[in-house]
Subunit: 231 residues, 2 copies
DNA sequence: TTTATACTTCGATTATAGCCGAAGTATCTG
DNA sequence: CAGATACTTCGGCTATAATCGAAGTATAAA
């Protein structure tokens, strides 16, 4: 019949709100077990299990078995990108008040994405690191260069310790507000923690963060960032 | 509350097979009336009408009123690209007959995607432009080089006029059959139109196109393309 | 081996939404 | 104005699938 693959099959998989919640959780945090995904989608474990097998069968997720645990991940970067494309088309979350509006503005400038930086700030820092050739882009990950090793060392981030951790080291994470990549993984997390420690950023209510005055100076000096773009 | 737009809303719009058939028809032929779309989706006019209002409300389609006629179009290039992205993820369609096979062969060799070239031809032309350094790949877009400015000028494509248009100029669009990028945006559209004008390509039924004999010669001469790869 | 954990499968219920017939509105033709 | 065309709205039917309780399997710990 058709000469063209049926995109509505994939759309159906993404159309259910429980499955969407699970996919979204996995965009933020790679490798969650079914029980955790059930919680995040507000459904029972049985329901979640059914949804997850559909997503795996449709090649949107893949699953890694470790004994009795099964960790789910987004299958590949194309899946993340397709979700990102749909997010771009979706009407932006409703803004019901002035408070909502300023919050949505702030959250697009700087926020945390699970445990690393996202939004304009996350993307700008990532791009500054690429610009200075401290990290280089690969398919799904960033690679730390020789210059980068020195830089992170002087920035009091212990790369070897991070590499020991049983999680991704420097992953590319697609940003829904900027439509560009920011740095995730344990290195992304370490940068976030260090910026908090230095007092360069502070938490606002929710996931939004605020860059302090010392932060502005620091980011310009250490990362060579053009902080006026944060406006 | 929610800071992230809800992509499942858009996925739901694309998930229904009747709506998918309509969207697909509109990727082929821009500007069809409800009655025609009802036929192509094999549903009654009432049903089609309901689907179409949902698609318009969700900003996937826009509608132009001309008297008692209402012509529907894909709302913008992002919608087309999102559909292409989902198509990449979808399992390839089953081929049930010889006729299907030859059609699926043709459509993979050369077809239009929204308003520009896709398939093997689209990818080969794009890669030829990169090879000759007329355009350079960036993150999400292609950048026209100095040599490219001259080339397109001699090819009777007015880049400045294209840049005026309120749409993407030279976007990267992932190709579902080739799994590589082809050139989209207003420049991609201009190239398509110019190739039709020159008689280098001709429309086949549906979205497939055919390269003419003059086209073969022209593509080899102007783009330095190895047309034997077109199969 | 027993018990606990993590998850899957089955079955019944329920809600959503896709579908069309019938009746309505808007626009053009004569 | 009457009649035709193009489409929309309403109401009821129906099929799909999302949901969870209950019971089952697989692995790990004690």
């Amino acid at each position: 019949m058709g000469s063209r693959p049926d995109f509505s099959y994939v759309a159906k998989l993404m159309a259910d709100s429980s499955r969407a919640a699970m996919l979204e959780a996995l965009l933020d945090l790679d490798g969650l077990p079914a029980s955790e995904l059930a919680k995040r989608a507000n459904v029972s474990l049985q329901t979640a299990s059914g949804h997850l097998s559909k997503l795996v069968e449709g090649n949107l997720l893949r699953v890694e078995k470790h004994g009795r645990h099964r960790y789910f991940r987004i299958a590949n970067a194309e899946v993340a990108q397709a979700i990102e494309m749909l997010t771009v088309l979706a009407p932006s979350a409703q803004v019901n008040s002035l408070k909502d509006f300023s919050r949505s503005e702030k959250i697009q400038i700087a926020r945390t994405c699970y445990d690393h930086l996202a939004g304009k700030l996350g993307v700008l820092i990532t791009e500054a690191l690429v610009e200075k050739e401290y990290v280089a882009e690969d398919q799904d990950v960033f690679i730390v260069t020789k210059a980068g090793e020195e830089f992170f060392n002087s920035f009091k981030i212990d790369l070897d310790a991070l590499r020991q951790k049983r999680r991704h080291f420097a992953r590319k994470c697609l940003d829904w507000s900027e439509r560009r990549y920011h740095l995730a993984g344990s290195l992304g997390n370490a940068i976030l923690l260090q910026l908090f420690d230095l007092g360069w950023i502070e938490r606002l209510p929710g996931r939004a963060v605020k860059v302090t005055d010392t932060g502005i100076k620091g980011l310009e000096k250490s990362f060579g960032m053009d902080t006026s773009k944060l406006g």
